[in-house]
Amino acid sequence: MLDFLQLLIMGLMEGGLYALIGAAVVLVYKSTQVASLAHGQILAFGAFFFYLFLGPAGLPWPIALILTLLASGLMGFVIERVTLRRLIGQPLFASFLVTFAVFMFFDGIFQLLIKGQSHSFPHFLPKGVLHFGGLNLPQTQLVSFVTALVLFGLLALFFQYTKVGLGLRASAEDHQLAQSTGISVRQIFSIIWVISAIVAGVGGIATASITDVHYSLPALGIKGLTVALFGGLESLPGALLGGLLLGILENVSAGYLDPIVGGGVKEVAAYVMLLLILLFRPYGLFGLVRIERI
């Protein structure tokens, strides 16, 4: 039982990070109808920038954090401006493929920059472990998890109560209708890319403070897509639930199945779950069922 609770808690902590990455994908999909793989790179670069500002540059962490978020936002803005804006009006699949081309472009640069090494953040988060009656809870993960939840809350508030958030929701419903009420859809696209890039950047910092900055960080972008599909591509609560569920499933299945089949369950559990979910609920747990007309 204790084992199970421990796995559950670790899964929950990890799931919070997955939820953040999934949220970045969902944000973009909600308003632009483009599922983005590029956020995996924004995340990886966010983590790397943070390492640069904190380590070699030696800045205090609040300044490094702000600079990193600015850099991530800028990266999202540039990606949207240079590639995706030109594809407005083209088939949506072209936009999806462009994000994966962008992914590959930045992947090469990222691998060049880190030079095959693993970089860890110097003294940023508390490293100790909390104990609750036999359960272990690393403080780093707890802080990351709480950050993820707070960010989710902020996003929800932003969408619900600000004017820009209202515009974002309107253009998510219908681009033409939004445009005709005076909302600049292009501007909305820029804003949503910047916001989602910042979310991805936070996700990158939070993830890398647990796993260090290393070569497989961009692959989390695929995890993000998985989470987003899990919860349904249009649903922000779906991303939260999907991420948490995925983290728990991965850890619990790895904890119980690894001894039987000899390791590696964690890498594949997410994908098996995804296939099952897509088989029974093709549009995810909370996604909108699309009714097509010819």
């Binding site: 083209q90 081309a101 962008v102 090469g108 997410a270 994908y271 897509l278 093709p282």
Partner: protein, 348 residues
């Protein structure tokens, strides 16, 4: 499109792929050149062409399922791996001849592809694309953890024999690979013109409309996956017997991204496009490989071995460029060139 004043009088003329005596001359000349190639080319070039031809077979399969049938699949390397492993197991453990194992590994990959293509019955677009990524990971995980596939050790294979003559060098394998590639290309080219091929195109353009018009959507989608995975399996079998060892590291998700990129650069839904795309990307890759040491000499901070990273970046940049400015790929340019040549000196 026929030039002005050319009329087909018989049905056989109308459907002929090779139409005029000039076509025949070019075709036969090209075939002779292709088969004489190993006698005057360097070892490096032959090795390059071998890998390129295997890639062409895989990408032909991908073109059928993605370019013609519209079901984007990132699972192609996994299906290729299934073919490669099937071939390795059939030749070394079961003791079949390579010539039987080659089509059988294609069929094995094809049957596996039907299972892998099953999600396409309910989902499409990027839902399907991500589902095929999931299938890729699950397949590679299975290969890594099953006893029969040799887990992390991989499997060793033997050289095929041609009437007692072992095909154990790149030069001799060249003849086998090129022959198989030509047969597969011919098959793919003809498939696109049959009832099945037209059904694929209809499904790509609007699957709902195709179904309303009486096509069995499930049958044709699964058939597309079967055929495409058959191609991947055959290519995997050739790969296994060319490299002589199969290992999970040879079939990564990056390869899937490269293959999809190749059909985009070449042109979706066009068989010549496959050749353009594969050659373009492979040559780009080699160019980066050559220029990387020079770049390092100029910019020492790039590190010791930037070639693989640089080639990924270059590929990504080219792909972005093509998607934005030439979404119909090099095949479209080729069509424009052919038409203007045919109509010269008139504009249209």
């Amino acid at each position: 499109m026929r030039p002005c004043g050319v009329f087909d009088e018989k049905y056989t003329q109308d459907i002929a792929i090779v139409r005029t005596w000039q076509h025949w001359a070019i075709l036969i000349g090209a075939l002779i050149l292709v088969y004489l190639f190993p006698f005057f080319a360097s070892y490096y070039l032959i090795a390059f062409i071998n890998i390129t031809c295997i890639t062409i077979i895989v990408v032909l399969g991908l073109q059928i399922v993605s370019g013609y049938c519209g079901q984007i699949s990132f699972g192609q390397p996994a299906f290729m791996a299934v073919g490669a492993y099937a071939s390795a197991i059939l030749t070394t453990k079961v003791g079949l001849s390579f010539w039987l194992a080659l089509p059988l590994s294609g069929v094995a990959a094809g049957i596996f592809g039907i299972i892998g293509g099953a999600p396409s019955l309910r989902i499409k677009g990027f839902y399907l694309a991500v589902a095929t990524i999931a299938i890729h990971f699950v397949t590679m995980w299975l290969i890594l953890h099953l006893k029969i596939t040799g887990a992390t050790q991989g499997l060793n294979t033997t050289s095929p024999e041609f009437f007692g003559y072992p095909l154990d060098t790149d030069e001799t394998m060249y003849f086998l690979i090129v022959t198989v590639m030509l047969i597969m290309t011919f098959g793919a080219r003809n498939l696109a013109r049959t009832k099945v091929g037209r059904a694929f195109v209809a499904i790509r353009d609007n699957d709902l409309a195709a179904e309303v018009m009486g096509m069995n959507l499930y049958y044709y989608k699964l058939l597309a996956f079967f055929i495409s995975c058959f191609f991947a399996g055959v290519a995997g079998s050739l790969w296994a017997h060319l490299i002589m060892v199969v290992h999970p590291e040879q079939f990564t998700l990056n390869h899937a991204l490269w293959y999809v990129g190749m059909i985009i650069i070449g042109g979706m839904g066009s068989i010549p496009g496959v050749f353009f795309g594969v050659f373009f990307v492979r040559v780009l890759d080699e160019l980066v490989l050559f220029t990387a040491p020079m770049l390092v000499a100029w910019f020492p901070w790039l590190g010791m071995a930037p070639a693989s990273s640089l080639s990924i970046s270059a590929f990504g940049a080219v792909l972005v460029f093509f998607l934005m400015f030439e979404p119909r790929g090099l095949a479209h340019r080729w069509e424009i060139f052919k038409t203007s040549y045919r109509l010269y000196p008139f504009a249209y």
